[in-house]
Amino acid sequence: MDQLFVTLKHWLADFAAPGWQPIFSALLSIAAIIGTFASLFALTTLLERKGLGRMQNRYGPNRVGPCGLLQPLADGVKSLTKEDLVPAAADRWVFFMAPLTLVVPAFLALAVLPVGRNMTAVDLDSGVLFFFAVGAASEVAVFMAGWSSRNKYSLLGAMRAIAQMVSYEVPLILSAVPVVMMTGSLSTDAIVAAQAGYACGLPNWYVLTPWGLAGFLLFLIAAMAECNRSPFDLPEGESEIIAGYYVEYSGFKFALFFLGEYIGMFAVSGLAVTLFLGGWQAPFAFLTWLPSYAWFFGKLLALIALFIWVRGTLPRLRMDQLMNLAWKFMLPMALLNIAVAGLWYFTGPGWARWLTCSLVVGGAYLVLGRALLSGAHLGPRAYRYAE
């Protein structure tokens, strides 16, 4: 059961000509990944809309199919059949390349995620680095989209998005560093393997250590900002810059953007699962009978749900708040987290390192948070009306 898909793939691969087997199996896994995550994307859009609807006290989509289950299908058909507008002043080539540049790296990033036991598409020796490297391409894509469509709003949105992504990439990577230090490898498989086993009933996940917890939270926040999710969705704020850098996109290209964003979200949360939540490992020893990929996707969906929840809950940040958060809070916090991981590593096992590390992390959190909030005015805004 656990190895079902692996065996299936091998069985299929045996049909190929002997010289072409590696390429064939690679194609197989690519197809599997694309299929899985594309359908997951469809599912997620539905979940998001319905969940938000519930949070905002309204029904979500409930017309197409049984209680709106077929809504994604309808959307897909609609976006495929819509007219594909290209602004007259647009820079055609760039305008056309932008969605592809966004989607392809996103899918590439999925390749290194171990979605189950022996179910990593390519196990690179420097997988995490690969992940961030291809993730970097999305910024170029955003710029291409925003700049090529010759629209002030989209250019502004692109600029905002790039500034935000560049700022939040730093804490994102830095918060992943402690895990790499602990595992001693950049390979995602090795990282998952390092979190195997259980201690006194709890799994050895990194999230269950002081630095791991801090890193996980930092990583989540940075991830939200990285894929422009609320509350960091300034670049796409409908109310401010009508949907930001893809204002001018419509039809299938728009769908591609949408897809790209969601795939990016999956990828980043999948990495979070891999780095901190023990990948496909079961949380408790007595639950290991469930197949590993089930655990992976369960955790993934849980994180997605968290994202949706946050989106439904928190208001949008201002630009200065965004930057302050990135540079004045998360960056120092992540740096200190690295140091704390080193401390953890060098002070041998025992309650002492628990105490010291949690004290350092907590103290830093208090100090930095206080410093961050010291200048900020968080009270209700004072409206001034014109007489």
Binding site: V94, D125, A133, A136, V140, M144, W147, I162, G184, S185
Partner: protein, 168 residues
């Protein structure tokens, strides 16, 4: 024509054409974008040469940072409209000639040297662990200097790009 040779030929074609495009395009933004293409091609070439880490680092640094930086610079210097005036500097032919001369010298060096005529040795392993250990043991001083340099560059860039004093 074997598989590596094929990939090499393709990548070389991509890289060279992209680089040439960088030089030729009127529109600076296009130049920047194709520069990103060329550099990603180089990264792929590194991968083919079994330098995985370097390849990904190249991708991360150049596509993720430098290209974006260049684009920002272009937009900040009003360079994003395709310039209607001539884009080449006076004495361009001299420059091109010199570039050609340099290439000629290099090519002659490469083609006439007898040291390079060796078949491919087995692919060396550049495990990330190895690189990290080397960096921490033997090359730790360069590493520190590098960190210092980057910090200085960061501060210097900020200071330079600050608004100019009215006195200056």
């Amino acid at each position: 024509m074997t598989f590596p040779a094929l990939t090499f030929a393709l990548l070389a074609a991509v890289i060279l054409s992209a680089a040439a495009a960088v030089m030729m395009f009127r529109n600076l933004v296009h130049s920047a974008l194709v520069l990103a293409v060329a550099l990603s091609g180089l990264a792929a070439l590194y991968l083919q040469l079994h330098a995985q880490f370097v390849g990904f680092a190249q991708l991360l640094v150049y596509v993720g940072a430098v290209a974006i930086l260049i684009v920002f610079a272009i937009l900040l210097t009003r360079g994003n409209e395709p310039s209607d005036q001539v884009i080449f500097s006076p004495g361009r032919w001299v420059g091109a000639g010199i570039a050609l001369a340099v290439f000629g010298v290099l090519a002659r060096v490469i083609l006439t040297s007898r040291l390079l005529a060796g078949s491919a040795p087995p692919a060396p392993a550049a495990a990330v662990k190895e690189i990290g250990q080397r960096m921490m043991e033997r090359y730790v001083l360069p590493l520190e200097v590098m960190g210092l340099l980057l910090t200085v560059a960061l501060i210097g860039a900020v200071v330079l790009a600050l608004r100019e004093r009215p006195s200056g």
